[in-house]
């Protein structure tokens, strides 16, 4: 640990104190949802079918009900008619499948029993008579004329696309793509497979009758959104739905929106007892994934490397229900021109329903697929133009303050510096070691387009602080950041600050924990609440000292009156007087919607990252070794450098997962054949780059506290195109499909080798 500068106390902004909640995490005391024991809770097990799509003929629960300890078997017939449905974009997901299952693993029924053993035993004994139906599980099959429809057109009233599997088509653009002339046009189609979030904590849900309402515990990222869903389904006022959201054991987007909480709530109310459902890892594979994509990119350049147009057609294969997937498509493709000034653009993006796991948010939110395509296309363009890949990017990068997407936020960083730093760290201007190849790519992601966060901060009588913030701390370290802000502003030692999260009955509203927003949006709400307290302290000090309020300055934990400097605590103790009490501050941060914007709002900020890698490719096996991996992000200000590093390096390694090894394998019927940890590999400590270096660019130019920007997704965005470019540099083969498994690389190498 470095010594703090004079005037900077440990724990203040810009330092790296131990994580808030860190002690509980290293002692095993952190209680995740599955660790919470409710007296008398029933154990729930889902009943599913081993096929992608089926007509449910009959459900016979008699054998299941005969298992000792089984209390109820809930089927669609036991739920209100019509079946209650929910979803963040479309209310299309039923609490239980009704009439038909639409993806492999969709629950038909649920068993609730006194023990987990009994629930599991009984779930196996629920006899479902069903008729397997033709399923679509690829983009081609879903778009084929006469393809079976994943959603009944009656579910999509008034929708002109209802008779197809296209849920939505998004069109963006400017300029005249067909009218401009380009010297060189580079075209390719790039594929990104289905991958899953694989949080090490499987999703867990508990529900219990709570007076005249209900309490729900969930490993959810958006407790307030869940509260609204449950209240709507149960026709309860929000105040009668209490959502507890313990820190998730990893979320990565897969825990943003309601999944089986409504089902567990119905069971708890029906049984009049608490109920718990903790998914197996296999069940989480069937609950959440990232959208697969096939993206055709045409880019036109002048001979000097200037981009003159980009034409993108993106097809994303989403699942059987929309969840937030269509939004990932809309938002992920909107930035298809990347950080480049592009005189003409045409972007068509489709979210296509299929009989597969509902895809949802996953770190990067639709962008990694798009960036895989357009940045691979950029690398091919560099080769076609005979221009260095770094130079090509620098030539086209938007300058600070330049509008690069008409009608949206101008470039909010000096991105050339980020690219320059990555190039410098990898030694771009010197040749790689013999046998190695280098690649570089950039990633840009639009931050939140709307936002609403409230925070209450309480300065207690002894100068200690309690912060209420509705963010979910799923590992990104929001607790630490908020505590650092309050410590800085209110002069409290960091270990005198408590951050309360995850209880909708106590903590004020927060829209959601997503889009790397929390440091910026909730951070500003916390800062606002601290400033509110500072205002009250100013009035207090003026009264105590007999001076005008205007003569009192409260800043960074101190009260200053002329030359006199008083610790906040002195003013507080005297000001509160004999009754004591506390000073309460309220902060609110809004980012308003813009109904005329194609996404409903401009970017609060952009995440920008440049990744450069050096690889070795084993020509005999196709195995790729990432010898060096450099990741540089523009973060505005690193509020906690250790946590920033954790997010950047973690995102980089997660990116290597979908780049090198991860993908669902489906059979022809649409069943997932590699459910679980044995057959679906994610990076381990043996899969790390031989050398991983992360760095940040800090210009204090973000909209968050102290000039910070959101940053938790950036380092994942462009890993795949950087690695593929390095593979090309090392071997000469261009690969446009992920993941770059040894088999795929070997096949590509051998096709090249065959004369």
């Amino acid at each position: 640990m470095t010594e703090p500068d004079a005037g900077v106390l440990p724990g203040r902004v810009g330092t790296s104190p131990a994580r808030g909640g860190g002690r509980a995490r290293v002692t095993g005391r952190q209680a995740y949802v599955a660790d919470i024991r409710l007296e008398d809770a029933l154990h729930v097990k889902l009943v599913t079918l081993d096929c992608a799509r089926a007509r449910i003929v009959a459900v016979d629960a008699s054998a299941a009900l005969a298992v000792p300890g089984v209390r109820l078997v809930l089927g669609a017939a036991d739920l209100p008619d019509p079946m209650p449905r929910f979803g963040p974009q479309f209310q299309d997901r039923p609490v239980l499948a009704v009439g038909e299952t639409r993806y492999h693993g969709e629950p038909v029924a649920a068993v609730a029993a006194e023990t987990r053993d009994a629930a599991e035993e009984a779930a196996r004994l629920v006899r479902v008579t069903y008729e397997e139906l033709p399923a679509v599980s690829t983009i081609a099959a879903a778009l084929a004329p006469g393809a079976p429809l994943v959603q009944d057109p009656s579910m999509r009233p008034g929708d002109p696309l209802a008779a197809s599997n296209v849920l939505r088509e998004h069109r963006y653009g400017w300029g005249d793509v067909d009218g401009v002339t380009a010297d060189v046009v580079v075209e390719g189609t790039y594929a990104f497979p289905m991958v899953t979030q694989f949080a090490i904590e499987p999703h867990g849900f508990l529900a219990a009758p709570d007076g005249d309402g209900i309490a729900v515990w969930s490993s959810i990222q958006h407790p307030n959104w869940l509260q609204r869903v449950i209240a709507g389904l149960l026709a309860l006022p929000l105040s009668k739905v209490r959502v507890y959201a313990p820190d998730p054991g990893g979320g990565f987007g897969g825990k943003q929106h309601a999944k089986y909480e409504p089902l567990v709530a119905f069971i708890a109310l029906r049984a009049g007892r608490p109920a718990r459902l903790v998914l197996s890892l296999e069940e989480t594979f069937q609950a959440v994934r990232r959208g697969a994509a096939e993206i055709r990119v045409r880019s036109g350049f002048r001979r000097d490397g200037s981009l003159v147009f980009r034409d993108v057609e993106a097809n994303y294969l989403i699942g059987a229900y929309a969840d937030i997937a269509d939004r990932t498509v809309a938002k992920g493709t909107y930035t298809s021109c990347g950080p480049y000034r592009t005189p003409a653009a045409r972007i068509v993006a489709r979210s296509i329903l299929s009989n597969t796991t509902p895809s949802t948010a996953f770190r990067g939110f639709g962008n990694p697929q798009q960036i895989w395509a357009v940045e691979s296309n950029m690398d091919e363009a560099a080769h076609a133009l005979g221009i260095d890949p770094v130079a090509l990017r620098l030539r086209n990068l938007a300058r600070p303050g330049e509008v690069f997407i008409p009608g949206d936020t101008p470039a909010d960083g000096d991105w050339a510096r980020t690219v320059g730093r990555a190039a410098e760290l990898i030694g771009w201007d010197t040749p790689p070691a013999p046998g190695r190849g280098r690649g570089i790519a950039v990633g840009l992601k639009s931050g939140p387009t709307t936002g609403l966060s409230y925070s209450t901060v309480r300065l207690l009588a002894d100068g200690s602080v309690v912060i209420h913030a509705g963010t979910s701390d799923m590992g990104q370290g929001a607790r630490t950041i908020f505590a650092q802000i309050a410590a800085q502003e209110l002069g409290a030692p960091l270990d005198w600050v408590t951050v309360v999260m995850g209880d909708t009955a106590v903590v004020p509203y927060d829209q959601q924990t997503s889009a790397s927003r929390s440091s910026v949006l909730m951070g500003n709400a916390v800062l606002g609440a601290c400033r509110d307290i500072q205002g009250r302290l100013r009035a207090m000090a003026a009264r105590l000292e007999g001076v005008a309020e205007a003569d009192v300055v409260v800043d960074r934990g101190e009260v200053r009156i002329g030359d006199r400097v008083l610790p906040i605590r002195d003013v507080l103790v005297r000001g509160l007087g004999r009754l004591g009490g506390e000073v309460i501050g309220v902060g609110e941060m809004r980012k308003e919607a813009d109904p005329d914007h194609p996404l409903g709002g401009t970017a609060a900020f952009f995440e920008f990252n440049c990744t450069a890698v050096e690889v070795e490719v084993d020509r005999a096996t196709g195995d790729i070794v990432v010898a060096r991996h450099v990741t540089v992000s523009d973060v505005g200000t690193a509020l906690n450098p250790s946590q920033v590093r954790g997010q950047d390096e973690g995102a980089a390694i997660m990116g290597l997962g979908h780049t090198l090894m991860e993908h669902y394998i489906l059979d022809d019927g649409g069943r997932i054949r590699n459910l679980g940890a044995i057959d679906y590999r994610i990076p381990t400590s043996m899969d790390l780059p031989l050398r991983l270096e992360s760095d940040v660019i800090e210009h204090g130019d973000g909209p968050g506290p102290y000039g910070s920007k959101g940053m938790s997704e950036g380092a994942l965005l462009c890993v795949a195109p950087a690695v593929a470019a390095a593979v090309r540099d090392a071997t000469g083969v261009v690969i446009r499909d992920l993941p770059l498994t040894p088999e795929r690389v070997w096949r590509a190498l051998n096709e090249v080798a065959v004369p």
Partner: protein
């Protein structure tokens, strides 16, 4: 086949230094018994096939995936879980190093990482980076916090070396 869900066997185990006599179901794993019967929920459940390492504990000093060990097999042995690492409020050197290097992000894999690291350092007090990578290869971290986890183990090893 319908299992006899009510059968039980008696086992005597020492868990975190405390002798326990338990009636356990023959098909229950050590993980089940730690979490459900003893309330030691620091040991985590994820893959249940011995691939993720979240449930790693030490049996007589050997690191195992407790999801793959029947509780009955642990009869007569000494089990150490994450709850047994700290002495009162004092963290052990690995826990302290994990906290210092920022190794714990979401934290869900951390108990397993700590136990695997514990076993590694017991067998190899001066591991190289490659030794640590290999020693923790069975413990997945989806936050991708491997660099800071490896750093923590090396820091803890260095301190042990300095102390001895």
């Amino acid at each position: 086949m319908t299992a006899d869900l009510d059968a039980s066997v008696r086992i005597d185990v020492t868990v975190n230094g405390r002798p326990r006599s338990l009636e356990v179901r023959p098909h229950h794993t050590l993980l089940d018994v730690l979490r459900d019967d003893l309330g030691l929920t620091g040991t985590k459940e994820c893959c249940l096939v011995g691939e993720c390492g979240a449930c790693t504990v030490l049996i007589d000093g050997v690191s195992v995936d407790s999801c793959l060990v029947l509780a009955a097999e642990a009869d007569g042995s000494a089990v150490l879980t994450v709850e047994g690492l700290a002495s009162g409020d004092r963290l052990d050197r690995l826990q302290a190093a994990f906290l210092e290097t920022g190794a714990a992000q979401c934290g869900f894999c951390i108990p397993g990482q700590l136990m695997a690291a514990h076993a590694l350092l017991a067998a190899n007090p001066r591991p190289s980076r490659a030794d640590v990578e290999e020693g923790l290869a069975g413990n997945l971290c989806r936050c991708g916090g491997y660099e800071q986890i490896i750093e923590a183990v090396l820091v803890a090893a260095e301190r042990l070396g300095a102390a001895s």
